[in-house]
């Protein structure tokens, strides 16, 4: 945390994700593939009104569709 000024821009969570991503990208090829999967996040949401659900929407439309369903590790 030498450049502690990141506090002006990010939350700690975001900071931790950035460092984790940096570590994953530095692994050897064989391990990196498995590790990259751990870093992907996708969000789908649905708005409910008067007991009726609206359409389910991806937060990041194109990227999230690529992430398939997998068994929770």
């Amino acid at each position: 945390m030498s450049s502690a000024t990141w506090r002006n821009f990010f939350t700690y969570n975001k900071y931790a994700q950035i460092t984790a991503r940096a570590v994953r990208q530095s692994l050897k090829e064989s391990e990196r593939v498995v590790a990259e999967k751990r870093g992907t996040t996708a969000l789908k949401y649905q708005r409910w009104e008067n007991g009726v659900g609206g359409p389910q929407v991806f937060l990041n439309p194109e990227e999230d569709k690529k992430v398939g369903k997998s068994a929770a590790v």
Binding site: W6, F10, T19, A20, V23, A35
Partner: protein, 164 residues
């Protein structure tokens, strides 16, 4: 008369039955119970170890048995675990927290960690160059800060890999 003298001198010469004390490296009696966990994997679960060296944000520290309870944020850096004797294992962790609980327990939570052998120096070097380029470029302040953080991680990694 002479027989008595002979007997006493013989007794003095006979080796005492005191066992010879063997001098070796002292085996540490007290160990600390370490749990080193990642979200996807538990490297250690309540394992008794002699010493753990971590890179805390406030400086490098070594944690031994009966450490005072404390919470330390970790910078991206090495975690070294000495289980017994001189054997030590090292991991590079992306950051997290080390918590010493009362009752001689140490919990280290990090997001990503891997043994030093799992890293590729080539990838680290290339990533570092890329990150420094972005950090010195003319993107948004946020992008440059992100690149600066990544560059710090890569530099720490290079240092860890270089001084294996």
């Amino acid at each position: 008369m002479s027989a008595l003298r002979l007997l006493s001198s013989a007794a003095r010469r006979a080796p005492s039955t005191l066992t010879q004390q063997r001098r070796g490296y002292a085996e540490v009696a007290d160990k600390i119970s370490l749990s080193l966990v990642l979200p996807h994997q538990a490297i250690f679960t309540s394992k008794d170890v002699v010493q753990v060296n971590v890179a805390a944000a406030t400086g490098d520290m070594g944690i031994l048995a009966n450490h005072v309870p404390s919470i330390e944020a970790l910078r991206p850096g090495m975690i070294e675990v000495i289980e017994s004797g001189n054997a030590s294992k090292k991991w590079f962790a992306s950051g997290g927290f080390a918590t010493v609980h009362p009752g001689n327990k140490l919990t280290i939570n990090v997001i990503e960690a891997a043994p030093l052998e799992s890293f590729s120096s080539e990838a680290v070097r290339a990533n570092l160059q890329e990150a420094l380029k972005v950090a010195a470029g003319n993107g948004s302040e946020e992008d440059k800060m992100e690149a600066r953080i990544e560059a710090d991680v890569y530099e720490a990694l290079q240092h860890a890999l270089g001084s294996k």
